[in-house]
Amino acid sequence: MSNFSMNKTLEKPSQRILSWIARLFISILVPFVVFVVLYFGFRFLRDSQAPQIVITISAIVWGVGGSAALYGVTNWVIQRTNESWRKILTPFMFVGPAVAILGWYLFIPTIRSLVLSFYDRSSQNFVGFDNYAYLFSDASMQTAFVNNIIWLVVGTAGSVVLGLIIALLADRSRFEKVAKAIIFAPMAISFVGAGVIWKFMYAYRPVSSNQIGLLNAIVTFFGGDPQNWIVLRPWNTLFLIIILIWLQTGFAMVVLSAAIKTVPSQFLEAGRIDGASELRIIRSIVIPTIKSSLITVSTTILLITLKVFDIVYSMTNGLYGTEVLASQQYKQMFKFLHYGRGSAIAIIILVAVTPVIWYNLKQFGNREVF
């Protein structure tokens, strides 16, 4: 206690001990009171029958204020120690919570899931690679693998190609801002919300009645027969992928549009003076220049397709041959309660995404984001 040692000539030993105890007492009491208040807040939120708006406001105040208060009180305690302790404890306050939470929520679960994937349904008996062997031979898992690859190829290519076309068009148009906002807006919509929107697009009525889904209305207008698109194998997966493309094209467009703006205008001028057509300029000048952005966008959307869950779960619940890896994992865990297989699928997803994310991170370092 640095300021304490300055006073020691003025104090008797008994006084010194008394004041030391008082400080210790306060240093424990203040955090204790904070914890008690927070705990009663937790109890209140869990058990209260208050009107919901009251719960909402008090929960937000409790959650946000509580975490800020924990930092505040930790700092308060650290400031009461001496210089050398302060130096040791400060990093714990700054980095400790993040390390603890990431350890609990990501690091340890990865190891636990890996271990669980070698155990049976109830995590009691070691079964070696049985779960993996099962997953690679099971018929519905094979459908899921194939579907995931279709998602990956069609979803990624569709979003990136459309995004590139729209970015190029918008770059040459007067309505650039409005058009970009319209294409990007679906990014704000949840997969479940988009599911409802597209279920309505695909809605099916028998031939005799009026069609209320736009797609079937168009088909019947041109003399075709209405189709139940969602159950129409094997095309239904493509109809689900269209939803992803509708959501993700905006992202591809925004990133690619920013990249296109960096193409030096003298290159474009030179091409035009040489008499090259617009398509030729795009193919030989624009695309090579924005190659790295193209790859980053593709890998990002590829990651989303690898983990796609909500669209399938809300549109078909994995029925009619539309399973993907993530929906199979959810089914294994929460329907069949087979923790071994569920964990094994999670590990497969981890292995699949790891190289892609590493690549993205490397690219990310070279890019200005803010």
């Binding site: 939470i101 679960p109 919300g193």
Partner: protein, 307 residues
């Protein structure tokens, strides 16, 4: 190729412009139609929705109603008279309750990870302690872990300590799943703040805590805002984490995505309610998008490395 005269060049240019704009407008119309259909349908009454397509309703504006919204938002029962005179009682969908739940889940799930990540980013950037580089390397490494990995182990922990179905439980889950990205992004930003700014603060005797709260946090607002918007959209639209940690036996808390999904399940053909519910769920993210478009785009771009 023969040199084009300025006049004909100008002509081809205008022709090109017309084509470009026409194609672009066509794509934009296609992009808007699905949402427009849902929007229009959410204001039509039940019978006309099932009777004919929404595009025909633009000629008969008299049938529009806001009753779908009051029914979807309310938790109480609604009755209506069918065309043959029978009265049907149908349960309200309590979307308003789910909306409040979503707000309760989302706001702390955005602020808590930002707070923790900002502290950690400062620690990694400006404090000297043993193991700093290794720890930071581990955090970046954890970016690759998909949240699917954590569902079973964390759910088991939650069952043991009674966090399942609580607000704190889902806040912490979203914090855990967003924290690696938040720390990484904020570190990138905070580590570029010039050292001289901080040294002047230390000369004035400020502690690391004071420097962080008074100086670094205000300077980092652009980065904080970008991450906040990404995380907001992510948490608000999330279904999987909510399904795992909020639903289950005896759970009463439901967010909008779950609520909407159960309306889909129980009222698959009640399009007038489904569409209204979908619009309620989209209201807040779309408002944020149109109000803060620039931050929104930056945020989603920054979030592109989320595992």
């Amino acid at each position: 190729m023969a040199q084009a005269t300025p006049k004909s060049m100008k002509k081809t240019k205008t022709v090109q412009e017309v084509i470009v704009n026409a194609v672009l407008i066509f794509i934009c119309i296609i992009w808007t139609l699905p949402t427009l259909g849902v929007f229009v349908t959410s204001f039509r009454d039940r019978d006309s929705v099932l009777d004919n397509g929404w595009w025909t309703s633009l000629s008969t504006p008299s049938e529009f109603t806001t009753q779908n919204y009051s029914q979807v938002l309310a938790g109480k029962d609604y009755s209506y008279t069918k065309s043959d005179g029978t009265v049907v009682v149908s349960r309200g969908d309590n979307m308003l309750g789910a909306f409040l739940n979503s707000i309760t889940v989302t706001i702390p799930s955005v602020i808590i990870p930002i707070l923790i990540a900002a502290f950690a980013a400062y620690g990694f950037a400006w404090l000297d302690f043993p193991g700093r580089k290794i720890l930071f390397g581990c955090i970046v490494g954890l970016l690759v872990v998909p949240l699917q990995i954590a569902l079973i182990p964390i759910l088991r922990d939650y069952m043991k300590i009674g966090l399942n179905g609580s607000y704190l439980g889902i806040w912490l889950a979203h914090t855990g799943f967003g924290l690696a990205l938040a720390t990484y992004l904020l570190f990138n930003y905070i580590s570029t703040i010039p050292r001289s700014i901080m040294e002047s603060a230390f000369l004035d005797g400020a502690s690391h805590f004071t420097t962080f709260v008074r100086l670094i946090l205000p300077l980092s607002v652009p980065a904080l805002a970008s991450f906040a918007i990404f995380q907001f959209i992510w948490v608000w639209n999330d279904l999987l984490v909510a399904l795992v940690f909020l639903s289950g036996a005896g759970q009463t808390v439901e967010v909008v995505t779950q609520r909407l999904l159960s309306i889909v399940g129980s009222r698959g053909q009640d399009w007038h309610l489904l569409t209204a519910g979908a619009f309620v769920s989209m209201l807040l993210p779309l408002t944020v998008f149109f109000a803060l478009q620039r931050f929104f785009v930056r945020g989603l771009m920054a979030g592109s490395v989320k595992g």
